[in-house]
């Protein structure tokens, strides 16, 4: 069993990082949503595999949530928002794709070093998992930092959350409460974001955060 299960887990987790890179690379709105769907699918596969190997059946719930919620509902609603707000243009990536990718590679290397050194005693599966999770988190953050568009920032944030779930799933025997709370928080996060988008939609013609930023409550 050992090696195969490890390889598969490795494959999924690594895949997640790869998809994160794709997110980072993608500069079209619709493409971004598609890739995010893929991200969610890979996550749910990964979590599912963890559930299987750890014999932790509750993790299947998490996987299912990831699959249904993130791979289906959210992309759909994002598309709706896109249509309703008429956002079709490409998203500007600050600093250009090349630089962003390089930084991303650096971040992955950093998370490898940090995590592999830190978890020397843990079992290899958890180590790999954590390292990849950290990479995904950092890449998600990088994406939030390099995008000007609200929707893509939200996607960045959600990919970050995916990284967290990957980590939580990799943590052996972590009580159910965590998964639920994660799902719960993602749910609330999305609702609130939705409310916000709605409100913002109500008042402004765009959800481009950049325009929101014009006003800081104080003038220069």
């Amino acid at each position: 069993m050992g090696n195969l299960s490890f390889d598969i887990a490795h494959l999924f987790a690594g895949g997640l990082v790869l998809v994160s890179f794709m997110l980072l690379y993608q500069d079209r709105m619709s493409g971004l949503i598609n890739i995010f769907t893929l991200h969610a699918v890979v996550l749910s596969l990964s979590v599912g595999w963890q559930a299987y190997t750890q014999r932790a059946w509750h993790l299947f719930v998490t996987a299912a949530i990831a699959l249904i919620f993130k791979a289906l509902i959210i992309p759909l609603s994002l598309r709706r928002i896109m249509v309703r707000l008429r956002i079709h243009r490409t998203v500007e990536i600050i600093g250009g794709v090349g630089v962003t990718m390089l930084v991303g590679i650096g971040l992955v290397a950093l998370s490898m070093v940090v995590m592999l050194r830190a978890t020397a005693a843990a079992d290899p599966l958890a180590r790999e998992d954590l390292a990849f999770a950290l990479s995904v988190v950092l890449l998600g953050l990088l994406m939030m930092v390099t995008r000007r568009n609200a929707v893509s920032q939200v996607i960045g944030f959600m990919s970050l959350e995916n990284g967290l779930i990957l980590a939580a799933a990799g943590a052996k025997g972590m009580p159910l409460v965590v998964e639920i709370s994660v799902a719960f928080s993602v749910l609330i996060a999305f609702i609130v974001i939705g409310v916000f988008l709605f409100r913002i939609r109500e008042r402004f013609d765009t959800v481009d955060v950049h325009q929101l930023d014009q006003f800081r409550g104080e003038y220069r």
Partner: protein, 666 residues
């Protein structure tokens, strides 16, 4: 139990504050509050005087820092400063019974005045670092409120700002000093005294104390708040701030450096002496350039603080070289000047306050001729002027004379640095004394003599009885301390002995009330005889002349070399009086610049002369600091206008940076 008397009195003062708040709006409030303050101050004065030579008393209250408690101690040094504070405090309160009636917004003065007094008294008796600093800053805070009593004037608001900022700076410096010398849990002074310090610490503590106490006392270049804040406050408060609060700072310095810090290193005196000398001269030079009466007086406090610090510095030098009797002489000189200055400076501020209420003017260029309208005030003010100019037979001279005697002992010091410095400081001291005389000729001459320069000055009236009484008591005190200095020197003996281990020889046994600092063959001074002598010869001269000379007297227009001009504008003004000294010393000392705009012949424009004088401390020190802060604020302020993405980037960078640190951690 004098200490309990002191503490209860402080409590009473605080209660008076509360009472003042409760009585807001009542007309009688002012008199009641000031009368109460006066009474309590007299009580405290009694406690101080009777305790001068007595054994130290301590008390502890379960207040303040929990595991330290609030410790209070009344020893000789405290008793002396208690005397100084409450003498002026009582007089200022008494003065204010009359003066306070002119106050426009008594509710902004009355609650804070007793609190201010209470704060000062508490500083003196505090016996642990925490209580000391609390009282210290409480004193600053309450006086800050008093500076802001006339808050509608923008200048006063600025004064308040500069004042409290400097005060806070000073407090933090003292806080650090205490942090350095405190034993691990020993914030009590007794524990600090007992502790031994690593060799580098006391020097640093001295520097911090100089910053902390110096900023309160007004050592150049930390003096800048003083000429702003002292004039801003009501005059009886100015008298307290200038006459007494600066002395509380001196107390802080003496307490820390002489008492808590252990034996001094030789170079300490180098620092203290040079600061003292520079302060003395710069203070008086700035004072000479002022034409605002109260600001002039405020700058003069700077000078006198310099003189006091010269005495303290000499004492440190002698102590470092184990010459206790010389140290005792210097310290006595410094402390006696503390007392003297508090007396005549308060007197002068009282006088300035009387002028202010009577004419509404502080600017000397609009005054003049008040000696006719306020003869009694003028007389008292004149006594103050003579005393502060260090002229015999008044008290200012005695302390300066003692300081000179101490300087003359300094060849016995074996450090080369001091050998060169001390004579130079002596020269500076002499220079400042001479300039002080010039300055007070100007202050008195322009304000009280000559002809009125404005309608306000013409309308001046003699001030009220309370104010006059306070002034005359202090004028008398100036004389008494001048002609019987031995009394005061002997009273100081226990204080000095407790600090440097020796005392000046007893003076009271010497015939004719002479004072002899070391030996009669070396030097002696007898104020009483000089005074009697002068009075006697003046009377003799007058008697003889009136007996044998003519009695005739005729009034007529002034002669003025045949060109009398009726316009009072042709008189010498404060600025023109200072012009020669400004010319010869002003360029270096304060970048004085004169710009003459002389119209061409035939042009009917008025000619203009603009004089600019700058306090160099601002240029060199404070403006750059203010600019630096402004610059920093402007630069960092850009961070307030980032986009969310920008903020996220900050978090991101912080995270990645910390991960790098963790990754690199061994």
């Amino acid at each position: 139990m004098s200490i309990m008397v002191v503490l209860w009195s402080v409590g009473a003062l605080l209660a008076t504050s509360v009472l003042a708040v409760a009585m807001t709006g009542r007309i009688a409030a002012s008199r009641i509050v000031y009368a109460l303050c006066c009474g309590v101050c007299l009580l405290l004065l009694g406690a101080g005087v009777t305790h001068l030579g007595a054994v130290a008393e301590t008390a502890a209250l379960p207040l303040g820092l929990p595991w330290v408690g609030a410790h209070f101690r009344l020893d000789a040094l405290s008793a002396f400063f208690l005397t100084v504070i409450n003498l002026t405090g009582a007089a200022a309160s008494f003065y204010a019974i009359g003066y306070g009636a002119h106050e426009q917004h008594p509710s902004r003065v009355l609650p804070f005045f007793p609190a201010f007094l209470a704060g000062m008294n508490l500083v003196i008796v505090a016996d642990d670092a925490f209580s000391f600093l609390v009282a210290w800053e409480f004193m600053s805070l309450s006086s800050w409120a008093l500076v802001l009593a006339h808050h509608h004037v923008a200048e006063n608001r600025r004064a308040g700002f500069v004042y409290l900022t400097m005060a806070s700076f000073g407090t933090l410096a003292l806080l650090m000093a205490f942090g350095l010398i405190a034993a691990p849990s020993g914030y009590a002074f007794a524990a600090i005294r007992a502790a031994t310090h690593s060799p580098w610490k006391p020097g640093l503590v001295l520097a911090l104390t100089l910053l902390g106490a110096g900023s309160k006392a007004g050592l150049v270049p930390l003096h800048i708040w003083l000429p702003l804040a002292h004039p801003a406050a009501p005059s009886h408060v100015s008298a307290l701030m200038s006459g007494v609060m600066t002395k509380v700072a001196v107390y802080g310095f003496v307490r820390i450096v002489f008492d808590l810090l252990g034996p001094p290193a030789w170079w300490w005196s180098l620092v203290v002496l040079s600061l003292g000398g520079v302060t003395a001269v710069m203070g008086v030079l700035y004072a000479l350039m002022q034409h605002d009466l109260k600001r002039l007086l405020a700058y003069h406090s700077v000078e006198n603080i310099g003189i006091i610090f010269i005495g303290l510095g000499l004492a440190l030098a002698f102590e470092a070289y184990a010459m206790p009797s010389a140290a005792a002489l210097s310290l006595t000189a410094g402390l006696l000047h503390v007392f003297n200055h508090s007396v005549f400076k308060s007197l002068l501020f009282f006088g300035a306050g009387a002028v202010l209420t009577s004419t509404g003017e502080r600017d000397m260029e609009h005054l003049g001729g008040l000696i006719h309208r306020m003869p009694q005030t003028a007389f008292a003010f004149l006594v103050g002027c003579i005393a502060i100019s260090a002229l015999p037979p008044f008290n200012g001279f005695v302390s300066e004379w003692l300081t000179f005697q101490a300087i003359l002992l300094s060849p016995q010091l074996s450090s080369w640095g001091l050998k060169f410095l001390v004579p130079a400081v002596g020269g500076l001291l002499a220079l400042s004394a001479a300039l002080a005389a010039a300055c007070f000729v100007k202050a008195f001459g322009v304000t009280f003599l000559g002809r009125p320069r404005s309608e306000a000055a013409e309308r001046g009236r003699e001030t009220d009885r309370f104010s006059l009484a306070a002034m005359f008591v202090f004028a008398a005190l100036c004389l008494v301390a001048g002609i019987a200095p031995g009394l005061f020197i002997d009273a100081l003996a226990p204080v000095v002995k407790s600090l440097v281990g020796d005392r000046m020889p007893a003076q009271l046994g010497i015939e004719w009330l002479s004072i002899v600092p070391i030996a009669e063959s070396r030097s002696s001074y007898n104020g009483l005889l000089v005074f009697v002598f002068i009075v006697f010869s003046a009377l003799v001269a007058a008697q003889i002349i009136h007996r044998f000379g003519s009695h005739a007297l005729r009034r007529g227009p002034a002669w003025d070399c045949g060109y009398p001009d009726p316009s009072p504008a042709t008189q010498y003004t404060a600025s023109s009086f200072a012009q020669p000294i400004r010319r010869i010393l002003g360029g270096v000392a304060f970048g004085a610049r004169e710009r003459v705009d002389m119209p061409a012949p035939g042009d009917a424009r008025a000619a203009r002369l603009d004089i600019t004088i700058r306090d160099r401390a601002w240029d060199v020190l404070y403006t750059p600091i203010a600019r630096g802060v402004e610059f920093g604020a402007d630069q960092l302020n850009q961070l307030h206008f980032l986009t969310i993405r920008g903020y996220l980037s900050l978090v991101f960078v912080a995270l990645v940076g910390l991960l790098f640190v963790v990754a690199a951690w061994p």
